[in-house]
Amino acid sequence: MKKILTATIVLIGLCMSSVIISAEPVVEDVTIDPEEPKAMDTITITVTIDSTEEIEEVTLRIKECDESMCMPTQSYPMEFENGKYTVTDELTYTAATYFGYQLIITSNGNVTYYPNSDDSKEFQNVTLKPADNGGTNGGNGGDGNGDNGLPGFELVPLFVATLIIIFYLRRKRSR
Protein backbone atom coordinates (compact mmCIF):
# COMPACT_ATOMS: atom_id res chain seq x y z
CA MET A 1 0.00 0.00 0.00
CA LYS A 2 2.80 2.33 0.94
CA LYS A 3 4.58 1.65 -2.31
CA ILE A 4 1.47 2.35 -4.33
CA LEU A 5 0.92 5.61 -2.47
CA THR A 6 4.51 6.67 -2.97
CA ALA A 7 4.38 5.84 -6.64
CA THR A 8 1.16 7.79 -7.01
CA ILE A 9 2.64 10.84 -5.34
CA VAL A 10 5.74 10.67 -7.51
CA LEU A 11 3.61 10.34 -10.61
CA ILE A 12 1.48 13.33 -9.67
CA GLY A 13 4.63 15.29 -8.94
CA LEU A 14 6.02 14.45 -12.34
CA CYS A 15 2.81 15.55 -14.01
CA MET A 16 2.81 18.84 -12.10
CA SER A 17 6.41 19.53 -12.96
CA SER A 18 5.75 18.98 -16.63
CA VAL A 19 2.94 21.53 -16.42
CA ILE A 20 5.24 24.01 -14.67
CA ILE A 21 7.96 23.52 -17.24
CA SER A 22 5.64 24.52 -20.07
CA ALA A 23 4.23 27.59 -18.28
CA GLU A 24 4.72 30.95 -19.96
CA PRO A 25 7.09 33.57 -18.49
CA VAL A 26 5.73 35.59 -15.61
CA VAL A 27 6.57 39.24 -15.10
CA GLU A 28 7.24 39.49 -11.39
CA ASP A 29 8.11 43.12 -11.06
CA VAL A 30 8.30 46.31 -13.11
CA THR A 31 9.95 49.45 -11.79
CA ILE A 32 10.02 52.83 -13.45
CA ASP A 33 12.57 55.47 -12.68
CA PRO A 34 11.71 58.21 -11.88
CA GLU A 35 8.72 57.03 -9.88
CA GLU A 36 6.65 60.05 -10.91
CA PRO A 37 7.85 60.83 -14.41
CA LYS A 38 7.12 64.01 -16.32
CA ALA A 39 6.61 64.48 -20.02
CA MET A 40 9.96 64.66 -21.84
CA ASP A 41 11.71 62.80 -19.01
CA THR A 42 14.29 60.11 -19.60
CA ILE A 43 12.87 57.01 -17.99
CA THR A 44 14.42 53.68 -17.10
CA ILE A 45 12.23 50.62 -16.95
CA THR A 46 13.50 47.56 -15.11
CA VAL A 47 11.72 44.24 -15.32
CA THR A 48 12.08 40.99 -13.41
CA ILE A 49 10.81 37.95 -15.28
CA ASP A 50 10.42 34.44 -13.95
CA SER A 51 10.63 31.77 -16.58
CA THR A 52 11.46 28.09 -16.55
CA GLU A 53 12.55 28.32 -20.15
CA GLU A 54 15.21 30.39 -21.71
CA ILE A 55 14.05 33.83 -22.70
CA GLU A 56 15.28 34.72 -26.15
CA GLU A 57 14.27 38.35 -26.24
CA VAL A 58 12.36 40.99 -24.32
CA THR A 59 11.17 44.04 -26.19
CA LEU A 60 9.65 47.13 -24.65
CA ARG A 61 7.03 48.98 -26.64
CA ILE A 62 6.12 52.52 -25.59
CA LYS A 63 3.40 54.91 -26.66
CA GLU A 64 3.02 58.53 -25.56
CA CYS A 65 -0.44 60.04 -25.55
CA ASP A 66 -2.55 62.87 -24.34
CA GLU A 67 -6.35 62.86 -24.09
CA SER A 68 -6.66 63.61 -27.78
CA MET A 69 -3.98 61.68 -29.63
CA CYS A 70 -1.06 59.26 -29.45
CA MET A 71 2.36 59.32 -31.03
CA PRO A 72 3.48 56.20 -32.91
CA THR A 73 4.88 53.48 -30.68
CA GLN A 74 8.59 52.97 -30.25
CA SER A 75 10.14 49.55 -29.66
CA TYR A 76 13.40 48.85 -27.82
CA PRO A 77 15.19 45.60 -27.05
CA MET A 78 15.81 45.28 -23.32
CA GLU A 79 19.22 44.43 -21.94
CA PHE A 80 19.69 41.64 -19.44
CA GLU A 81 21.84 42.67 -16.50
CA ASN A 82 22.10 41.32 -12.97
CA GLY A 83 19.09 39.09 -13.42
CA LYS A 84 16.85 41.88 -14.69
CA TYR A 85 15.86 43.39 -18.01
CA THR A 86 16.31 47.09 -18.41
CA VAL A 87 15.96 49.85 -20.98
CA THR A 88 16.21 53.62 -20.95
CA ASP A 89 14.02 55.80 -23.13
CA GLU A 90 13.73 59.52 -23.65
CA LEU A 91 10.12 60.65 -23.84
CA THR A 92 9.58 63.07 -26.72
CA TYR A 93 5.98 64.29 -26.66
CA THR A 94 5.84 67.48 -24.66
CA ALA A 95 2.06 67.44 -24.23
CA ALA A 96 1.84 63.78 -23.19
CA THR A 97 -0.33 63.14 -20.16
CA TYR A 98 0.51 59.45 -19.96
CA PHE A 99 2.71 56.85 -21.52
CA GLY A 100 1.87 53.23 -22.03
CA TYR A 101 4.32 50.36 -22.07
CA GLN A 102 4.06 46.80 -23.23
CA LEU A 103 6.52 43.94 -22.86
CA ILE A 104 6.91 41.42 -25.64
CA ILE A 105 8.63 38.31 -24.30
CA THR A 106 9.89 35.71 -26.73
CA SER A 107 10.61 32.37 -25.13
CA ASN A 108 10.99 28.97 -26.80
CA GLY A 109 9.60 30.47 -29.98
CA ASN A 110 6.45 31.66 -28.22
CA VAL A 111 5.48 35.28 -27.69
CA THR A 112 3.90 36.51 -24.46
CA TYR A 113 2.65 40.02 -23.88
CA TYR A 114 2.54 41.99 -20.67
CA PRO A 115 0.27 43.27 -19.15
CA ASN A 116 -2.13 40.95 -20.94
CA SER A 117 -0.48 37.78 -22.12
CA ASP A 118 -2.92 37.25 -25.00
CA ASP A 119 -3.66 40.82 -25.99
CA SER A 120 -1.16 42.67 -28.14
CA LYS A 121 -3.10 45.91 -28.04
CA GLU A 122 -3.13 46.31 -24.27
CA PHE A 123 -0.59 48.59 -22.62
CA GLN A 124 0.11 49.46 -19.01
CA ASN A 125 -0.46 53.18 -18.68
CA VAL A 126 1.58 55.49 -16.46
CA THR A 127 0.45 59.03 -15.71
CA LEU A 128 2.86 61.79 -16.60
CA LYS A 129 3.20 65.13 -14.93
CA PRO A 130 3.50 68.14 -17.25
CA ALA A 131 6.91 68.84 -18.71
CA ASP A 132 8.98 71.44 -16.93
CA ASN A 133 8.65 73.97 -19.72
CA GLY A 134 4.91 73.31 -20.04
CA GLY A 135 5.11 73.67 -23.80
CA THR A 136 3.23 71.75 -26.43
CA ASN A 137 4.62 69.99 -29.43
CA GLY A 138 3.03 68.29 -32.33
CA GLY A 139 -0.28 69.25 -30.88
CA ASN A 140 -3.20 70.69 -32.66
CA GLY A 141 -1.76 72.22 -35.76
CA GLY A 142 -3.36 70.46 -38.61
CA ASP A 143 -4.38 71.81 -41.92
CA GLY A 144 -7.09 74.28 -42.49
CA ASN A 145 -9.74 74.26 -45.16
CA GLY A 146 -9.09 73.36 -48.71
CA ASP A 147 -9.18 75.68 -51.71
CA ASN A 148 -12.68 76.93 -52.48
CA GLY A 149 -11.93 78.30 -55.95
CA LEU A 150 -11.63 82.05 -55.27
CA PRO A 151 -8.99 83.83 -57.34
CA GLY A 152 -5.83 85.04 -55.71
CA PHE A 153 -2.86 85.19 -58.04
CA GLU A 154 -5.08 86.53 -60.81
CA LEU A 155 -5.52 89.77 -58.88
CA VAL A 156 -1.87 90.68 -59.44
CA PRO A 157 -2.11 91.52 -63.18
CA LEU A 158 -5.28 93.52 -62.53
CA PHE A 159 -3.48 95.49 -59.86
CA VAL A 160 -0.52 96.11 -62.15
CA ALA A 161 -2.82 97.18 -64.98
CA THR A 162 -4.58 99.66 -62.68
CA LEU A 163 -1.26 101.16 -61.65
CA ILE A 164 -0.21 101.53 -65.29
CA ILE A 165 -3.45 103.31 -66.13
CA ILE A 166 -3.18 105.65 -63.18
CA PHE A 167 0.43 106.44 -64.04
CA TYR A 168 -0.46 107.08 -67.68
CA LEU A 169 -3.38 109.36 -66.83
CA ARG A 170 -1.25 111.38 -64.44
CA ARG A 171 1.39 111.82 -67.09
CA LYS A 172 -1.27 112.93 -69.57
CA ARG A 173 -2.66 115.52 -67.16
CA SER A 174 0.76 116.86 -66.30
CA ARG A 175 1.50 117.68 -70.00
Binding site: M69, C70, K121, F123, G138, D143, G152, E154, A161
Partner: protein, 182 residues
Protein backbone atom coordinates in the same frame (compact mmCIF):
# COMPACT_ATOMS: atom_id res chain seq x y z
CA UNK B 1 -5.70 106.43 -80.23
CA UNK B 2 -2.81 103.98 -80.00
CA UNK B 3 -2.40 104.63 -76.31
CA UNK B 4 -6.09 104.15 -75.60
CA UNK B 5 -5.92 100.86 -77.47
CA UNK B 6 -2.95 99.74 -75.39
CA UNK B 7 -4.77 100.61 -72.17
CA UNK B 8 -7.86 98.73 -73.34
CA UNK B 9 -5.77 95.63 -74.12
CA UNK B 10 -4.11 95.78 -70.69
CA UNK B 11 -7.49 96.06 -68.94
CA UNK B 12 -9.04 93.23 -70.95
CA UNK B 13 -6.09 90.85 -70.45
CA UNK B 14 -5.99 91.45 -66.71
CA UNK B 15 -9.75 90.98 -66.49
CA UNK B 16 -9.45 87.72 -68.40
CA UNK B 17 -6.81 86.34 -66.02
CA UNK B 18 -8.95 87.49 -63.08
CA UNK B 19 -12.08 85.81 -64.34
CA UNK B 20 -10.32 82.59 -65.38
CA UNK B 21 -9.54 81.98 -61.71
CA UNK B 22 -13.23 82.18 -60.85
CA UNK B 23 -14.38 79.66 -63.43
CA UNK B 24 -12.06 76.75 -62.86
CA UNK B 25 -13.42 74.02 -65.11
CA UNK B 26 -10.36 71.83 -65.00
CA UNK B 27 -9.84 69.26 -62.27
CA UNK B 28 -7.52 70.42 -59.50
CA UNK B 29 -3.93 69.20 -59.50
CA UNK B 30 -4.51 68.31 -55.84
CA UNK B 31 -6.60 65.25 -56.65
CA UNK B 32 -5.42 62.55 -54.29
CA UNK B 33 -5.05 58.82 -54.62
CA UNK B 34 -4.24 56.15 -52.09
CA UNK B 35 -4.55 52.39 -51.93
CA UNK B 36 -4.74 50.03 -48.98
CA UNK B 37 -5.75 46.47 -48.20
CA UNK B 38 -9.11 45.95 -46.54
CA UNK B 39 -9.64 43.26 -43.88
CA UNK B 40 -11.27 41.03 -46.48
CA UNK B 41 -8.10 41.20 -48.57
CA UNK B 42 -9.47 43.46 -51.28
CA UNK B 43 -7.65 46.56 -52.51
CA UNK B 44 -9.41 49.82 -51.76
CA UNK B 45 -8.66 52.89 -53.87
CA UNK B 46 -9.82 56.40 -53.18
CA UNK B 47 -10.40 56.94 -56.91
CA UNK B 48 -13.11 54.24 -56.84
CA UNK B 49 -15.15 56.53 -54.60
CA UNK B 50 -15.45 59.59 -56.84
CA UNK B 51 -18.74 61.34 -56.31
CA UNK B 52 -18.67 60.59 -52.57
CA UNK B 53 -17.14 62.34 -49.63
CA UNK B 54 -14.54 60.08 -48.03
CA UNK B 55 -13.31 60.26 -44.45
CA UNK B 56 -9.89 58.71 -44.00
CA UNK B 57 -9.33 57.70 -40.38
CA UNK B 58 -5.72 56.85 -39.60
CA UNK B 59 -5.54 54.81 -36.39
CA UNK B 60 -4.08 51.77 -34.61
CA UNK B 61 -5.50 49.16 -32.25
CA UNK B 62 -3.39 50.32 -29.29
CA UNK B 63 -4.46 53.96 -29.59
CA UNK B 64 -7.10 54.77 -26.97
CA UNK B 65 -8.09 58.15 -28.45
CA UNK B 66 -8.66 56.27 -31.72
CA UNK B 67 -11.13 54.00 -29.92
CA UNK B 68 -12.93 57.07 -28.61
CA UNK B 69 -13.45 58.36 -32.15
CA UNK B 70 -15.12 55.16 -33.39
CA UNK B 71 -18.57 55.93 -31.93
CA UNK B 72 -18.44 59.37 -33.53
CA UNK B 73 -17.54 57.84 -36.88
CA UNK B 74 -20.49 55.49 -36.43
CA UNK B 75 -22.79 58.48 -35.96
CA UNK B 76 -21.44 60.00 -39.17
CA UNK B 77 -21.77 56.74 -41.06
CA UNK B 78 -25.39 56.36 -40.05
CA UNK B 79 -26.22 59.99 -40.79
CA UNK B 80 -25.31 59.91 -44.49
CA UNK B 81 -26.15 57.50 -47.29
CA UNK B 82 -23.56 55.36 -49.00
CA UNK B 83 -24.02 57.46 -52.12
CA UNK B 84 -23.00 60.50 -50.13
CA UNK B 85 -20.20 59.37 -47.87
CA UNK B 86 -17.82 56.55 -47.07
CA UNK B 87 -15.45 56.05 -44.14
CA UNK B 88 -12.12 54.25 -44.35
CA UNK B 89 -10.33 53.40 -41.11
CA UNK B 90 -6.77 52.52 -42.05
CA UNK B 91 -4.43 51.04 -39.44
CA UNK B 92 -1.09 52.77 -39.91
CA UNK B 93 0.89 50.47 -37.62
CA UNK B 94 2.83 48.22 -39.99
CA UNK B 95 3.25 45.67 -37.20
CA UNK B 96 -0.48 44.99 -37.01
CA UNK B 97 -1.98 42.37 -39.27
CA UNK B 98 -5.35 42.22 -40.97
CA UNK B 99 -6.27 39.40 -38.61
CA UNK B 100 -5.45 41.60 -35.62
CA UNK B 101 -7.60 44.38 -37.05
CA UNK B 102 -10.47 41.96 -37.58
CA UNK B 103 -10.17 40.68 -34.00
CA UNK B 104 -10.13 44.28 -32.77
CA UNK B 105 -13.35 44.99 -34.65
CA UNK B 106 -15.01 41.96 -33.06
CA UNK B 107 -13.74 42.89 -29.62
CA UNK B 108 -14.89 46.52 -29.97
CA UNK B 109 -18.34 45.54 -31.22
CA UNK B 110 -18.79 43.17 -28.28
CA UNK B 111 -17.38 45.59 -25.77
CA UNK B 112 -19.36 48.68 -26.78
CA UNK B 113 -22.29 47.24 -28.72
CA UNK B 114 -21.44 49.45 -31.69
CA UNK B 115 -21.26 48.01 -35.17
CA UNK B 116 -18.13 49.06 -37.02
CA UNK B 117 -19.59 48.47 -40.45
CA UNK B 118 -17.48 50.76 -42.61
CA UNK B 119 -14.25 49.95 -44.42
CA UNK B 120 -11.33 48.84 -42.27
CA UNK B 121 -7.89 48.05 -43.56
CA UNK B 122 -4.17 48.27 -43.19
CA UNK B 123 -1.67 50.74 -44.58
CA UNK B 124 1.53 49.67 -46.32
CA UNK B 125 3.25 52.89 -45.26
CA UNK B 126 2.24 55.11 -48.15
CA UNK B 127 -0.85 56.58 -46.51
CA UNK B 128 0.81 57.51 -43.21
CA UNK B 129 3.76 59.00 -45.05
CA UNK B 130 1.56 61.20 -47.19
CA UNK B 131 -1.34 62.13 -44.96
CA UNK B 132 -0.14 62.11 -41.34
CA UNK B 133 1.33 65.57 -41.17
CA UNK B 134 1.69 65.58 -37.37
CA UNK B 135 2.76 61.94 -36.91
CA UNK B 136 -0.02 61.48 -34.40
CA UNK B 137 -3.11 59.35 -34.42
CA UNK B 138 -5.94 59.51 -34.84
CA UNK B 139 -5.57 61.74 -37.85
CA UNK B 140 -8.70 62.35 -39.87
CA UNK B 141 -8.71 63.60 -43.45
CA UNK B 142 -11.79 64.50 -45.48
CA UNK B 143 -11.76 64.19 -49.26
CA UNK B 144 -14.41 65.84 -51.40
CA UNK B 145 -16.35 64.22 -54.21
CA UNK B 146 -13.54 64.94 -56.66
CA UNK B 147 -10.91 63.27 -54.53
CA UNK B 148 -9.32 66.48 -53.25
CA UNK B 149 -8.26 66.69 -49.64
CA UNK B 150 -10.53 69.25 -48.06
CA UNK B 151 -9.56 68.87 -44.41
CA UNK B 152 -6.97 67.15 -42.26
CA UNK B 153 -6.26 67.28 -38.55
CA UNK B 154 -4.73 65.09 -35.86
CA UNK B 155 -6.59 64.31 -32.68
CA UNK B 156 -10.04 63.20 -31.62
CA UNK B 157 -13.02 64.54 -33.53
CA UNK B 158 -16.73 64.59 -32.85
CA UNK B 159 -19.66 64.53 -35.26
CA UNK B 160 -21.90 67.32 -33.96
CA UNK B 161 -21.77 67.57 -30.18
CA UNK B 162 -18.62 67.08 -28.16
CA UNK B 163 -19.03 63.96 -25.97
CA UNK B 164 -18.17 64.14 -22.32
CA UNK B 165 -14.57 63.27 -21.69
CA UNK B 166 -13.42 64.83 -24.95
CA UNK B 167 -11.32 68.01 -24.85
CA UNK B 168 -13.41 71.17 -24.99
CA UNK B 169 -11.74 72.28 -28.21
CA UNK B 170 -12.50 69.03 -30.04
CA UNK B 171 -13.31 69.86 -33.68
CA UNK B 172 -16.62 68.72 -35.11
CA UNK B 173 -17.00 67.33 -38.61
CA UNK B 174 -20.68 68.10 -39.20
CA UNK B 175 -20.12 71.62 -40.60
CA UNK B 176 -17.48 70.36 -43.02
CA UNK B 177 -19.53 67.38 -44.17
CA UNK B 178 -22.73 69.39 -44.55
CA UNK B 179 -20.87 71.96 -46.64
CA UNK B 180 -19.46 69.31 -48.95
CA UNK B 181 -22.52 67.14 -49.23
CA UNK B 182 -25.14 69.86 -49.49
Amino acid sequence: MKKELVILIIILSSLFSFLSGCFDTSESVDVCEFVFTAVDGSQIRLSDYRGKVVILDMWATWCNPCHAVMPELKKIYDNYTRDQLEIMSVDIDLGESLELIQSFIEWFENQYDIELNWIFGRDDGSISEKYMNESAIPTLAVFDQKGRMYYRKAGVHAFKEIPSGFPKNTPTLAPILDELIS
